[in-house]
């Protein structure tokens, strides 16, 4: 048994897993605040990555300026999607709303392929040193950065929900829309803010992934991997999403290890999360931390 490889893969899994956690967190944010299951989360991530790439390569904007510009753009973009497409859907059955987001993801995916082509583009170098060594393992600098950024975003999110006025308003709306409205919270604004923040957080994750792997339409797979992560953690738990993401990330890499060492099926890396997803739905459909639906009539 190759312990060194296993350890390396587990570290990789942790890094990728925290990114899954970040994307799952932004997915759960939208679900909690607006009751919309967003199938276009991966595309939001991809749009963020492409916008940043365009600013950095086409317009030669330095990274410290390009990143805030991307965030501002995504903020506006999130609000725009909410107002133009999802606001008219309020009050429609939940399956109509799901289908709208599925269609949105198809539109974004195809438009981005149309604009940028299908071949991956390398991201400009952001760091000078390639890798740092830690306890005998070579870890790329971008991985360290990605871990730091992810943890920072999670802490930021926790602070936002616990302390800030907007975060409290969002939690109140998630708890009960009518009560929140009667307390003077503008539910419309809260919905728009949820989308805006979610788009921004996804974009940060997108840029981090792009720095590591380059930008290509394949990045939107992160939006699909959100489902195993969010279901595992419980659909309405922000903390659960983070933990679910990390578990899925590690599990993927362990599956790859088992595959390459023992099974030789090939490709297990990509499908393993979906097997997990089916198993969770069978034994514990509300996830590790999700609230069990209790219906009172």
């Amino acid at each position: 048994m190759n312990t060194h490889l296993l350890l390396q893969l587990v570290v990789n899994g942790l890094v990728v897993g925290t990114l899954y956690g970040v994307v799952a967190m932004s997915f759960v944010l939208i679900y909690k605040a607006t009751q919309v299951v967003n199938f276009a989360q991966g595309e939001l991530l991809l749009i963020g990555a492409w916008v940043c790439w365009t600013l950095l390569t086409k317009y030669q904007v330095p990274f410290w300026l390009g990143m805030p510009m991307t965030l501002v753009f995504m903020f506006a973009f999130g609000i725009l999607i909410q107002i133009v497409i999802l606001r008219p859907m309020i009050g429609e059955p939940i399956i109509s709303v799901i289908m709208v987001t599925i269609a949105l993801s198809a539109v974004f995916q195809a438009s981005l392929k149309w604009i940028y082509g299908v071949s991956p583009q390398p991201f400009p170098r952001v760091f000078t040193s390639q890798s740092v060594s830690f306890a005998g393992l070579q870890i790329q600098t971008v991985y360290v950065m990605s871990l730091v950024v992810s943890v920072l975003m999670m802490v930021g999110m926790a602070w936002f929900f616990r302390v800030s006025k907007w975060g409290l308003a969002m939690r109140a709306t998630a708890f009960n829309q009518q009560v929140a409205q009667s307390l003077g919270i503008s539910v419309k604004t809260v919905f728009a803010m949820a989308w805006a923040i979610s788009a921004m957080v996804s974009a940060v994750a997108g840029v981090v992934v792009a720095v590591v792997n380059g930008v290509s339409s394949g990045l939107s797979i992160y939006g699909i991997k959100v489902f195993p992560a969010a279901i595992l953690g419980g659909l309405d738990s922000v903390g659960g999403a983070v933990i679910g993401g990390i578990i899925i990330g590690v599990l993927e890499n362990v599956a790859q290890f088992v595959d390459s060492e023992y099974l030789h099926w090939g490709n297990l890396y990509e499908v393993a999360p979906f097997y997990v997803l089916i198993i969770i739905l069978m034994i514990k459909p509300y996830g590790l931390f999700g609230t069990k639906d209790i219906e009172r009539v």
Partner: protein, 357 residues
Amino acid sequence: MATPSLIPAGDFRSSYAVDTTIFPTKTSRNAAILGVVLICFAPQMLSEYWLSQLIMIGIYGIAALGLNILVGFTGQISIGHAAFFLFGAFTSAYISNNYPIPVFFSIPIAGVVTAIVGLIFGLPAARLKGLYLVIATLAAQYILLDFFSRADWFSGGSVPATAKSFSIFNYTLRGDRQYFYVVLAYVVASYLLVTNLMRSRDGRALVAIRDHYLSAEIMGINLTKYRTLSFGLAAFFAGIAGALYAHNQLVVSNEGFGIERSILFLAMVIIGGTGSIMGTLMGTAFVVLLPESMEWISAELKGGAIDRALQLNNNITFLREIAIGLIIIAFLVFEPDGLAHRWRQIKTYWKLYPFSH
């Protein structure tokens, strides 16, 4: 879904028999029979190309009908329909190649096997609300496509699988002109079957679950049973359609059956009208013929300024995906009842002409 049945003024139903009849008037029944008879002459009238398009509408129409049972009547979504379709195609090809079973029997067998496989994925989710089934079918889509690309014995792996042409005992059908009648028979049979299902207690139970699942449960409808049933039926029709597709194309590969194709099936149902049986056929025709019209438009624009600026001809596949997505959104926002609703409105307008409003 907002208005399931719009009944024009003056249309009163005084008995259950009248309410559940398939054809409300003699004229509509005769028109339907006449339509089927007329379409029997299609192989003689149409060119090879349009005939193959018509066959595609029939095959996809059956798959979309299955999805409409799930989406339109039970209020659940599947985005793994393309994978089940493909599973039916591979199963029928595998059965007819490896066992002494004629294609005539392998098509329904493929439908049953697909339904069983669909239930393995759907069973855990069918107990829960609509949202969970979407996610389970998403997983099914990825797991099944991965299985097809790996299982050499079943689907040929990276090499496309071959399928025999349609045969009953010793008689083999040749070409689209003869195969058309097989597809037509299956379309008529499955549409009649589903129409009759909707007139029965089981069909009404599905609609009750969609409209208000709590009330349905209180009235004694077993939610798990009916949700599972409708998901199994959806997979069954997908399998039948896939098998028909396999023996029409004679070659099956998993190229182009990703999640985009599943979204295409959803588009057929939404554009046609969720919960409308005849609407499904309209929606399918719309989606199948859409690439035609788009290719026509881009051919018209070829060489012009717009074409050079946007490179339309190089990106026609992306444009089609964008158009499908935008059309789904537009229908959901502006016309949630689909083409079937528009058609009813046109009929009502002419019924009351010239005194409509």
